[in-house]
């Protein structure tokens, strides 16, 4: 089996602020894809979500506004009110109802979208499990925000990490461009007949959701071609009555959960297939994870979301100083890309896993727990430590990341890990 790993060059491109755009256009110069048809639009993350949903011909939207996701709901209701899209917008009284309405709509064979954040996701919690258990291919944008108390509206990932076992496919985007691209791909992946599972596309609150960036958008006809109307074998239909959501006890429940787990595990394969097709129309390459400088790196940082951008810029600086550092950015958190991860860490001496959420009382943060447990299987000698950072929107600065890299280089040299969990950015 050949694994699909997306590689990004660490040699600095000419326009640093638009690094992702520049990268895409270099690929164009390489000759494979034409970007001529793509328009550049100024979007913040939320607007990019809304625009992608608009182009995806969604049938039903049911969402309840919550900071920092509000712009998504505002834009979508504007699109519906202006007649730009032919979708049913269901105004609901809570997030619990929003996702419940989405399940009903999805079972009729409709393409469905919703979005939430933080407390809203927590309120949805029980319905999250119903969505995946009923195999409803719903796409949801989760704008990551800290959970109360104390109340906070800024970015960390305690919301989605708290619901990580809900059976959804979980994707983390780095910037507005990725958010746009992932939303469109997410519909294809979730509606694939072997998958039929909901997908949560995560974007960091404010850092992505409210930051204006240049986004390349595809022409409507390209998206339409890439994303034909949803087809489903089983749906609620009065002319062919079947039952959904029955009571399954000791004799059935286990088999259904095993089925669900298998579908989730197959997702990374389908995600690669869809990513390849998407590359053909967009020139932007996606997969389970993206690496930078991993060919010869001694130490690496593994992280998700917007943090990867900061890490990459520090990495470029350290590479210029001749330090062998690398970056692994996970796009796909569930199902966890185990094989892909193994294939890129083979020659590594130390690995830092960065968690933007606490898992209270656990040995590590959630992401690091996953990584540590799979290293036990194949690569016991790799030194690993966990960084907890950014809680409640606390910034992670380039100098802090440089310190983390230097700590990792020190560990690679001495082989001694002093602190397995480091709280970076907290006032001591």
């Amino acid at each position: 089996m050949t694994l699909h790993i997306v590689k990004k060059e660490y040699i600095r491109s000419e326009t640093p602020s638009l690094s992702h755009v520049k990268d895409s256009s270099t690929r164009v110069q390489n000759g494979s894809v034409t970007m001529k048809n793509q328009e550049v639009v100024g979007f913040n993350g939320d607007e990019a979500v809304a625009y992608a949903v608009k182009q995806s011909d969604v049938n039903v939207i049911a969402a309840y506004p919550i900071t920092p996701q509000t712009i998504i709901v505002e834009r979508l209701s504007e699109y519906v009110a202006d007649g730009d899209i032919d979708s049913e917008f269901v105004c609901v009284e809570s997030e619990h109802s929003a996702l419940s309405a989405c399940i009903g709509a999805s079972l009729t064979g409709a393409r469905v979208f919703t979005a939430t954040a933080s407390q809203g996701l927590a309120l949805m919690h029980e319905v999250l499990y119903a969505t995946s258990g009923l195999r409803c291919p719903i796409v949801m944008a989760v704008v990551n925000r800290a959970l109360s108390a104390p109340i906070n509206i800024h970015n960390d990932r305690s919301d989605m990490m708290g619901s990580r076992d809900c059976g959804w496919v979980q994707i983390y985007a780095e910037n507005s461009q990725e958010v746009y691209d992932w939303i469109i791909q997410a519909f294809r992946i979730s509606e694939h007949q072997n998958i039929q599972l909901p997908i949560a596309v995560n974007l960091d609150g404010f850092v992505i959701s409210h930051s204006m960036e240049n986004v390349y958008v595809l022409p409507n006809k390209d998206v339409k071609k890439f994303l034909p109307p949803r087809k489903t074998r089983y749906k609620i239909d009065p002319t062919h009555p079947i039952s959904f959501g029955g009571l399954f006890l000791q004799d059935y429940y286990y088999e259904l959960k095993r089925q669900q787990e298998e579908a989730l595990r197959q997702t990374s394969k389908i995600l690669d297939q869809v990513g390849k097709e998407y590359y053909k129309i967009s020139g932007r390459e996606y997969g389970s994870l993206e690496v930078c400088g991993m060919e010869d790196a001694d130490v690496a940082i593994l992280c998700m979301g917007s943090t990867a951008g900061t890490v990459r810029s520090v990495l470029r600086k350290l590479r210029a100083d001749g330090k062998k550092v690398g970056l692994i950015k996970l796009w796909l958190y569930r199902p966890f890309p185990i094989d892909e991860l193994f294939s890129v860490i083979e020659n590594l001496k130390a690995l830092v896993v960065m968690d933007m959420a606490l898992s209270f009382g656990a040995p590590f943060g959630a992401l690091c727990s996953d990584v540590a447990s799979i290293l036990q299987i194949k690569k016991k000698d790799l030194k690993i430590f966990n960084v907890i950072y950014g809680l409640g929107g606390r910034d992670i600065t380039p100098s802090e990341i440089e310190d983390i890299f230097n700590d990792a280089l020190e560990i690679a040299k001495t082989g001694i890990v002093k602190d397995y969990v480091k709280f970076v950015g907290v006032r001591e």
Binding site: G133, L134, R135, Q196, R233, Y234, P241, I242, S243, F244, G245, G246, F248, D251, Y252, Y254, E255, L256, R258, Q259, Q260, E262
Partner: protein
């Protein structure tokens, strides 16, 4: 294959062959669920001589186990769970709970 056999076969299916996502492909399949198995000790018996055909038992039965025919009311023991609501509600005490011999 009769519906009953069909259900029994499905009971043994391994996970790969179970209907997708727990979908039940036949409508009205709860008819196959014989709730009469739930009865533990007593079953209701209707004394047809005392019965005044007021239909209160038919209204109150939570399992639609009272069956109406032209002349009289009967209990469908395939579905009767033996809850005893009919015996309590009967205004003329025509229904009594009788111990079942196993």
């Amino acid at each position: 294959m009769s519906r009953k056999q069909n259900l029994a076969d499905r009971m043994k299916l391994p996970w790969k062959r179970m209907p997708f996502g727990g979908i039940m492909l036949e409508a009205g399949s709860s008819v196959e669920y014989r709730t009469g198995d739930w009865r533990i000790t007593e079953k209701p018996v209707i004394d047809q001589k005392k019965c005044v055909h007021c239909l209160l038992c038919w209204i109150f039965c939570p399992d639609v186990a009272i069956v109406r025919s032209e002349k009289q009311l009967n209990v469908d023991y395939t579905y009767c769970k033996g809850c005893g609501i009919c015996a309590v509600e009967c205004p003329v005490h025509a229904i009594i709970m009788v111990e079942e011999k196993k």
